[in-house]
Point group: C2
Chain length 278, copies 2
Amino acid sequence: MTSEQLFEQIRAKKSFLSLGLDTDLSKIPQHILATEDPIFEFNKAIIDATADLVVAVKPNLAFYEVHGAAGWNSLLKTVKYIRSKYPKLFVIADAKRGDITSTAKMYARTFFQSLDCDAVTISPYMGKDSVDPFLGYKNKWVILLSLTSNESFADFQMIESKATGKRIFEEVIEKSMKWGTEDNTMYVVGATRTDFLKDIRKIAPNHFLLIPGVGEQGGSLQDVAHFGLNSKCGLLVNSSRGIIYADNTERFAEMARKKALQLQQEMEQILQSAGLLK
Amino acid sequence: MTSEQLFEQIRAKKSFLSLGLDTDLSKIPQHILATEDPIFEFNKAIIDATADLVVAVKPNLAFYEVHGAAGWNSLLKTVKYIRSKYPKLFVIADAKRGDITSTAKMYARTFFQSLDCDAVTISPYMGKDSVDPFLGYKNKWVILLSLTSNESFADFQMIESKATGKRIFEEVIEKSMKWGTEDNTMYVVGATRTDFLKDIRKIAPNHFLLIPGVGEQGGSLQDVAHFGLNSKCGLLVNSSRGIIYADNTERFAEMARKKALQLQQEMEQILQSAGLLK
């Protein structure tokens, strides 16, 4: 998918919401646990209930890998289901990989070919040659960690470079902008870090940003939009637990839709006010 | 496994060699491809041929994940085989994960419980709370990326902090030494970076270091030992492609043993000279 096509989807759905599928067997409704593949059944119900309200779906690999081969099959079935029923959804493998070139090539094959996702999250620690193999795929995306939403983000990301005066999260964006383009690179910026979004938009005014941490982690959608919105929206705001665990009875999908709808409606107003809707 | 037990194994085998299982279907012998689970059959043969010469085995997750559920099963079978036949081998999941606490907990369960590995490689980019969940497991290890062996290592790892004058790879070691102990934390330091091993040993004289990049990537074992050896050896030197792809005929396991034996013999001399053998 190109950035233009993604923006088209955002305008069509009046939403820049990403649905995080951190599907945890200990949190899903009892009646689903009795099915043959509870993770897939849960995901399918959540996706069907929200597909018209979200532009992206982001399965978090850890929640599938913990179940070994069965978990991988649930993930594969989930992505195949999205591909066949909702082909315009942007699928993000939230994997946070990062390794030497020969290994990175294998991860790129895994996420872009075997799983057929649109994007994969990558940790920048090992530098350019750990990212390059992902950038060789047409219409596929790398989403590089820049400024994350967790408490310990500052341990290394906020260290200021003696040579440039820039912080590591800024160094990541500045350097990697030369590796890829606005059509194959996004950045992860935590919604809890809105005070730095202004600085990031100075460096990368046109790139898409993936914003986790709205809801459960405490970030505000209005603040994110205020500092992060650009002329092509330029934002994918993710919510995981806030949507998928809104309820754990038989009404879970309906309640997930309700939560997603609240966010979509807030996003529609934001897009409307910014003059980004047709 | 404790560091003391690991050192005991090093003395018993006169080796600090780690065997990297980057098992690639495009590189393994033709006759193995005809078996039901070629990745497992290849690993099994390589492990049987080298188990008395190596103290650690390091499967690289990317090479298993690329085959989806089947790949995970090959990995699981490989680890189970090691656990049952060679229980004293130190098993490292080379996964380079790193995510927020709730996700990191899932990865810790995956690698320490579901797969029952001794250690997992972790990227430090997200800081302390992305590492903590792994440190809660008794006798399990986190191996944090510090200074990697790839060409682009300097992009971020070599940036010097304005506040401390230290480089990021040093900041990673200094900060994380307060999160864990010498009995649950190691560091990845590329064999191609021996010029910095001296600096690292000033910060962390007692920690074990995992050294990839000997052989195929050009690092020298003598240089690594010269700057990296400590009173409990303190080194695990990994070789992957140099051993497992020494030959791709029916003699592949025998030739892999030959390559591992060369490294073990060189290591025995190093340990002997340093007075570390009984």
